[in-house]
Amino acid sequence: MIPAAAAVSVATALDWNWETTWEALPILLMQFLKVTLVVTVLSTIIAAVLGLFIAMAIRLAPRPVAIAVRWIANFIRMTPIVVQLLFAYYAFLQLDAITIGVIIFGIHYSTYMSEVYRAGIDSVPKGQWEATTALSMSTRRTWSAVIIPQALRATIPALGNYGVSMFKDTPFLLVIGVVELVNAGLIYGGNTYRYIEPLTLVGVIFLLASYPTSLLIGRLEKRLAFNT
């Protein structure tokens, strides 16, 4: 009861308005479902696929190409997604902002995911590689039937964690005018001159969505660990 009482007294001090809260909630949830979640899911898929290609290119391509790919990936990873979004938005005016967002988030996070795949590929025991040579498997079959299935097992939780990070980074989309959750809260605040309720709700929605997902990923990690 003490946290509840504390919450009520803080709400009083903030001049919290429940009417505003109930009015803002459906508007925010709508943008959350329509924009934030859609961008997160689509970008995660792009990042997971592209990340695997980058990891394989760094490993399989001729050395100069591999070095070039690695530096491009480092460049994308070490520069702000905000600036990348602004650049792509003004450079490709024919595409709408959400499409730009999905593509840039996909590319940006693929550079993180490629590192996860790299670690996953490195964690496949050496004997597995030797076995594919002994069985004279083709490169294609070595990767598709032996290496990738084993590497993926170790990478799934880490990929999930990057999905959650991406989810929490989606508010950066507001720099190119996408009305995702935070921007919806700011617009609501601008129209009604009430910022406390919408912005607090936005934080609560983020917390309620990301924390249980992180817990689930943590449990998955324990289950998929090699030594159990």
Binding site: P80, V83, L174
Partner: protein, 242 residues
Amino acid sequence: MDDKFAALGEAMPRLLDGVWVTVQLTAYGAALAFVLSVILGLAAAHPSKAARVPARIVIEFFRGTSLVVQLFWLFYVLPLLGVDLHPMVVGALGLGLNYGAYGAEVVRGSINSVPSGQWEATTALSLGPVQRMRRIIFPQAWALMIPSLSNLLVHLMKGTAIVSFITIADFTYHLDQLKRVSDTFFAYAFVGLLTYFVIALVLTFLMNALELQAKHKLGQGLSLRQILSPAPTAAARTGGTL
């Protein structure tokens, strides 16, 4: 092409001001984040529940609500509570709280991965809890945590690019001005991304140096001075420590 560089030359003083603001925000945010990381990390690694539970709640709260949400909340809601802070303070506070929570997880994980023999040895030597942490456990955990803290520092630096939305004229803000007098590719990709990349590389380099130094203090590898000295000493050649 020449007129673009002329525009760049003209915009240079403001761009440099912007870089300086970005660097300052990164430094203040990182300083606050580091202090919070150590305090929350130590509390989260503490055996007693009374220390662990509050630390966990704070860490999960600031990790779970996004950085951008925290910045806007501090920017729009604090004034309503009668707390009027300079936007730079709001920026550093938001960055520090968010990345401090991430850093706390790194600190906690590193402290917990110091081998148990080290903990047992401190008991055998009957060191007090403060001495144990300060002299034995933390220096070893410190060497372990630097690579992850280095990643977080680059993240934090990248996160500063949003602060023009809370009225701070940082580097990204001035890029928009440069775009108006040149073009998109030149302003955002060539000048903008490249400058941020250089800042990130410098930060990574500094953190790598810090890691070498931390390891050297543990008796692993050469010291920075030995690595950077033009004439390697006998000890440096053989890889020993002085």
